[in-house]
Symmetry: C2
Subunit: 328 residues, 2 copies
């Protein structure tokens, strides 16, 4: 006869997830994910896709596991581009956590896309931690959206610099950005263009969905690190591909993925770099690949997003919920 219920699954909403996130030291957890990925310990099948043309919707299903780990994770992430008309954000999502030994569902993290935003920002901090020059007098931010905010917040953990120069197309939104970031302890100055940012900042983060380069090689100075997180499709591009050619180190989160999408793909296509010029972030973290060796070097990190980040952040939130319930 039909089985009786015997399983208890946790459902966490966005507010609860945010509370658990506060207790977590995410940088080492996501670093471990990148290392496992670069060591071939991650299993990440092809992304599933469901398109809903009538509502300008796209749904992506990303899933995978780290071998010998306790869990596997399935992430549903969607973008519905008519949602603004309904007063709703376009992006949405949830992550499901399952027990790797038995297939039992452990938790639904209904994060509405927040964990993806956070794990992307954490990856930026990890790139800066391993690649930025020691002395950063000013951080440059290109873009004024959610990532432009979250990247700065997580950079606090890897640099003492609180002086920021920002550029965005919309000056009203730039003002709002500056105010928000001042509340977080940053001194924010508006840049008239990205040239100003490249001339004054040693650590630059680009966070836009641009399809034409915003940073140009003519303005590139020695001793700069750039992390590009905006380009996650073959069409998007924030950096002049010549910047990657001129860089001493080009670090990518996933070689196989960055061959096809993101900044490195454009430089490869134009034969400005070869695959051998691309180092994987996990190998830099583990010390298997060389990191920056002088303050004068130019480094670029191209981050397109890898499922191990989702696996690690989902696992961390689930474990925080399991073991720290009393603190919330």
């Amino acid at each position: 006869m039909p089985k009786e219920s015997r399983q208890y699954m946790k459902l966490l909403n966005l507010q609860e997830i945010k509370q658990y996130l506060e207790s977590l030291d995410l940088i080492p957890l996501i670093e471990q994910g990148f290392v496992a990925y670069s060591q071939g310990k991650a299993v990440m099948p092809p992304v599933g896709e469901l398109l809903i043309e009538e509502h300008a919707g796209e749904v992506h299903i990303k899933y995978g596991l780290i071998k010998q780990d306790d869990i596997y994770v399935i992430k549903i992430a969607s973008g519905f581009y008519n949602n603004a008309d309904l007063g709703l954000p376009s992006s949405n999502g949830l992550m499901l956590v399952f027990r790797q030994q038995t297939g039992e569902a452990l938790a639904v993290l209904h994060d509405e896309g927040h964990l993806t935003d956070i794990r992307t920002a954490v990856a930026g901090a990890i790139a800066a931690k391993h690649l930025a020059p020691k002395s950063v007098n000013r951080i440059g931010v290109v873009g004024i959206g959610i990532q432009a905010r979250l990247q700065l917040l997580f950079l606090k953990q890897v640099t003492n610099c609180r002086d920021v120069m920002v550029w965005g197309r919309n000056t009203v939104a730039c003002d709002a950005y500056a105010k928000d970031m001042q509340v977080q302890g940053f001194n924010v100055q508006m840049a008239p263009d990205t040239q100003e940012i490249m001339q004054n900042c040693q650590l630059i983060i680009t966070t836009t969905p641009s399809k034409t380069p915003l940073l140009h090689v003519s303005n590139l100075r020695a001793g700069t690190h750039i992390t590009a997180v905006g380009a996650d499709t073959p069409e998007k591009q924030e950096l002049d591909a010549e910047i990657l050619a001129k860089a001493d180190l080009v670090v990518v989160d996933s070689k196989s993925q960055c061959k096809l999408r993101g900044e490195a793909s454009h430089a490869l296509e134009q034969k400005l770099i070869t695959e051998k010029d691309m180092l994987e972030l996990g190998t830099v973290i583990s010390g298997d690949a060389k990191s920056r060796t002088s303050e004068k070097q130019i480094t670029v990190a191209d981050l397109t997003g890898v499922a191990v980040q989702d696996i690690q952040i989902a696992k961390a939130v689930y474990l925080a919920c399991l073991f720290k319930k009393a603190h919330v």
Copy 2:
């Protein structure tokens, strides 16, 4: 800044799902799904798969929608074949319901695989409703597992026959089956072999994971309908392929799927039938294809499972929860 939580998602466990199922008339709902599928109104991308060899685990991700509908559904179904050692069932799963207009998550149905069992049994009842002869004196059941039970329960809705003959390899388990089904109002007689079933039953359901045929063409009688639900991979086979060659009608749930797996695939491979001999269940239900025209005809339904069944049952449970909360 990070978005504030604004969404409310329902989480239903197996017990709650069972309560809602009791209020639902599933046959017409699943019939509508088959019709929509055969009319090309369903979108069902390729199935995602995650294999966990260390624990003999496999996870399947099936998802899709019916165009112009309100929802889309993602189903996670797993089989972990070492679970018995831990006292757990091997199969498990859940279904997620999302709003097709916006991508918002509406519900998690933590059914542990039960909804898949039910929608499979309902499809069997639908096949019998449209294809079995009017006069059924005895129902034959091959297999003694969950499907062998659920198929009988749903057949109650489409036939008045309560006399059953069952065959299974394990006689102790056969006894348990007979007792369970007697409680449900059936008179159950054990058959020494499947020949006995084929000689005495007009409506036969096969529900085993057999890889060699259990029903043989030499025992096939005029006026028989057979529904085969066990074979859902290219290797499995319950019916002698000659039975399909001799049948007046061969009805499949999905032509594209049954070309590759299930009973029809074997008959096609042996060139005993052609693709033109296969009718899709949705076209029989809608009347676009002919159904049984005489009591003497032989009909076969080959059911391998289609995502529209999942979509329809998940939607029905979600709506029952939404509108009938007070009755539970």
